[in-house]
C-alpha cells in the first residue's frame, strides 16, 4: 500500500498496482518510497485521479465497455476541473488520462466566441482593432457558422 498526500495534507492509502499507471509514482515506488507527497495536487483533484486510476486498473475485455462509459461521464466536468486534471495528470505522467482530456477540452472550447476564450484563459488582446479586423477578414469563412457560443465554462 502506498500513501499519497495532497497539497491540503489529506492522505490516501492505495494499492501499488493501481498507482503504477502514474509514471511519476511508479518511479518513486521503484525507489522504495511508500509515502508520496504531492504538493501540486489538491484533494479534490487527487480524489478524481484516484477514481480514474482505480477504474482503469482492471483492463480486462469485459470491462472495456464499462470503462468507455466511465470515461465519457468522467469528462463531464467544468473546464476548470478538467484543467486541474490536466496539470495533475501531466505531473503524474498518466498518459491515458491526458489522451482523454485533450480532445475533451478541445471539443469544449472549439465553438466558443473569441471574447469567451479570452475571458476564460485571461488572454490579452494585443491587436489593434484594425489588425483584428484584418485577421477576421482573412479567415472569413472560419468565422461564419451557426454553432458559436459564448459560455464561460
Amino acid at each position: 500500500m502506498i500513501t499519497l498526500q495532497s497539497s491540503d495534507k489529506d492522505v490516501f492509502e492505495i494499492e501499488q498496482s493501481i498507482l503504477i499507471q502514474s509514471g511519476t509514482i511508479k518511479n518513486m515506488v521503484e525507489d522504495d518510497f511508500t509515502f508520496i507527497p504531492l504538493p501540486s495536487v489538491d484533494t479534490e483533484t487527487l480524489i478524481k485521479i484516484i477514481e480514474y486510476m482505480k477504474k482503469h486498473a482492471d483492463k480486462t475485455d469485459s470491462k472495456e465497455k464499462n470503462i468507455k462509459e466511465f470515461d465519457k461521464d468522467f469528462m463531464k466536468k467544468t473546464l476548470n476541473e478538467l484543467f486541474a486534471l490536466v496539470f495533475a495528470a501531466n505531473y503524474l505522467h498518466i498518459s491515458s488520462l491526458l489522451e482523454l482530456l485533450y480532445p475533451s477540452i478541445a471539443d469544449r472550447i472549439k465553438d466558443k466566441i473569441t471574447e469567451a476564450i479570452r475571458q476564460i484563459f485571461s488572454i490579452r488582446c494585443d491587436f489593434t482593432p484594425e489588425e483584428e479586423r484584418r485577421i477576421i477578414m482573412d479567415n472569413k469563412w472560419a468565422h461564419e457558422g451557426t454553432e458559436i457560443e459564448g459560455t464561460l465554462d
Partner: protein, 371 residues
C-alpha cells in the same frame, strides 16, 4: 537558430510520437510568450499545443485573432505540418479518381465520397447518399469532371440497382453533384439507355469537358459531357479485338497527348512469342461523330525482358507523353519510349515508384495518407 534541447525531467510526457516538434520549439514558444492561464494558473506551452492539435481546423483559424502570439503559433509552418501529421484523414479502401486542377475525389462502396485538395491536403465529404432498395455496392463507380463553361467541378456517380422484378438484372442510376453549388446529389437520366454501366476505375476526363467511360462489359465507350450532364455519344470499341488479353481484363482508357486511347496487352499462348502492348487511339475524322476511328499502335516487348504476363503490370501511362512504364520480371522498371526500351537501375525504380505511390489513396487504418 533553433537548438535541440533534451527533454527535461518532469516535462510533458507526450503520448504521441510527434513530440520532437514540441521539443524543438520549446524555445520558440517561450520566446513568443504565449500567455494562456486558467483559474489563475499558467498553462505550459506544450499543453496549449496539445490541446490546439485536437481543435478542428475551422476553429483554429478563428483563434488566430485571439492574440499576436497565438496567431503566430497557429500560422507557424512547423505547427501546421505537425497538425496535419496528427489530423490526417483515413481513406483506407477508398477508390480515387483522376486529379483535376489539384482536386481528387475519393470514394468507397458505402456511400462516402470526399473531395480532397492535393496541395492543401484538406478534404470535404459530400452528402452521404446510397440508393434505396436493392443495389450492388461493389459496382458503385465515381468519376470527377470539370465543366469548362461554368468552371465547376462535378462528381459523377453510378449505382447498379436491381430492377423492379428482381430478375437479377441491374440497371444504372446516375447521380451528379456540382461542387460549390449543390447541397445534395441530383439524379440524372444520363441521356442514353440505362444499360450503359461504367467499368470501375476505367474512365478518363479530357480537357474538352468530357469524361470517357469504358463500359463494364466492354465493347463500348461512353462519352459523358460534364456540362450537359449526359452521355452524348457511345463509341464502339475497335472491331473484333476486344478484349485482347487472355486474362479478359478490360483495356484501360487513358489520355495520350490529348487523345483518348485504350491500352491493352496480349501474350500469345505459345511459347516465347513477344508480348505486345496495343494502343488504340481514337481519331476524329473531323466532319461528324460518325467519323471516329481507331488508330492502332503496337509495341512489342522482347520476351527476354518479360517472360510472364503475371509479372508484367502496366504501372502507368503518363498523360500527354508517349512512354509507358511496366514492371519487369526482376522488379526493374522498364520504360518504353515509343519503340525502344531503356532499362533503369533498381534504386532509381524505387524512387519513381515511391513517387507514384504517393498519389495512391490506400493506406492502413488510421495511418495518414499522403498525396
Amino acid at each position: 537558430m533553433r537548438k535541440f534541447h533534451k527533454r527535461p525531467e518532469g516535462s510533458l510526457h507526450s503520448s504521441t510520437t510527434n513530440y520532437t516538434y514540441m521539443e524543438e520549439n520549446k524555445i520558440y514558444m517561450e520566446e513568443n510568450k504565449i500567455n494562456v492561464n486558467i483559474a489563475g494558473s499558467f498553462i505550459p506551452h506544450e499543453i496549449v499545443v496539445e490541446i490546439l492539435m485536437k481543435v478542428p481546423a475551422k476553429s483554429l483559424l478563428r483563434f488566430k485573432c485571439l492574440s499576436k502570439s497565438l496567431c503566430s503559433l497557429i500560422s507557424d509552418t512547423l505547427f501546421i505540418e505537425a497538425y496535419h501529421q496528427r489530423n490526417r484523414p483515413c481513406f483506407r479502401d477508398f477508390g480515387f479518381t483522376q486529379s483535376i486542377n489539384g482536386l481528387v475525389c475519393l470514394w468507397n462502396n458505402v456511400g462516402k465520397v470526399a473531395i480532397c485538395n492535393r496541395f492543401t491536403k484538406q478534404h470535404v465529404f459530400l452528402p452521404h447518399q446510397q440508393p434505396t432498395g436493392l443495389f450492388c455496392p461493389s459496382m458503385t463507380c465515381c468519376s470527377l469532371g470539370f465543366d469548362p463553361a461554368t468552371k465547376k467541378h462535378k462528381v459523377f456517380k453510378a449505382h447498379a440497382v436491381s430492377d423492379q422484378e428482381e430478375t437479377g438484372k441491374f440497371q444504372a442510376i446516375y447521380l451528379i453533384f456540382t461542387i460549390g453549388t449543390d447541397n445534395s446529389w441530383r439524379e440524372i437520366s444520363g441521356g442514353c439507355s440505362l444499360s450503359f454501366y461504367p467499368a470501375k476505375h476505367n474512365c478518363v476526363y479530357m480537357d474538352d469537358g468530357v469524361i470517357y467511360f469504358v463500359k463494364k462489359l466492354g465493347r463500348d465507350i461512353g462519352a459523358f459531357s460534364v456540362g450537359e450532364e449526359k452521355f452524348t455519344r457511345i463509341i464502339s470499341s475497335p472491331d473484333g479485338v476486344w478484349p485482347l488479353g487472355i486474362s479478359k481484363i478490360l483495356p484501360r482508357i487513358v489520355d495520350i497527348k490529348g487523345q483518348v486511347a485504350l491500352v491493352d496487352h496480349t501474350k500469345d499462348v505459345v511459347g516465347d512469342d513477344d508480348i505486345k502492348i496495343v494502343l488504340y487511339v481514337l481519331m476524329n475524322g473531323g466532319v461528324g461523330e460518325d467519323d471516329e476511328t481507331w488508330l492502332t499502335h503496337t509495341i512489342e516487348l522482347p520476351s527476354s525482358e518479360i517472360t510472364e504476363l503475371s509479372h508484367c503490370s502496366l504501372l502507368g501511362l503518363f498523360h500527354k507523353c508517349s512512354y509507358m512504364t511496366l514492371e519487369g520480371k526482376n522488379g526493374e522498371l522498364l520504360k518504353y519510349i515509343k519503340c525502344y526500351c531503356r532499362r533503369f537501375k533498381v534504386e532509381k525504380v524505387r524512387e519513381v515508384v515511391r513517387r507514384m505511390r504517393r498519389d495512391r489513396a490506400t493506406g492502413p487504418d488510421e495511418i495518414p495518407v499522403d498525396f
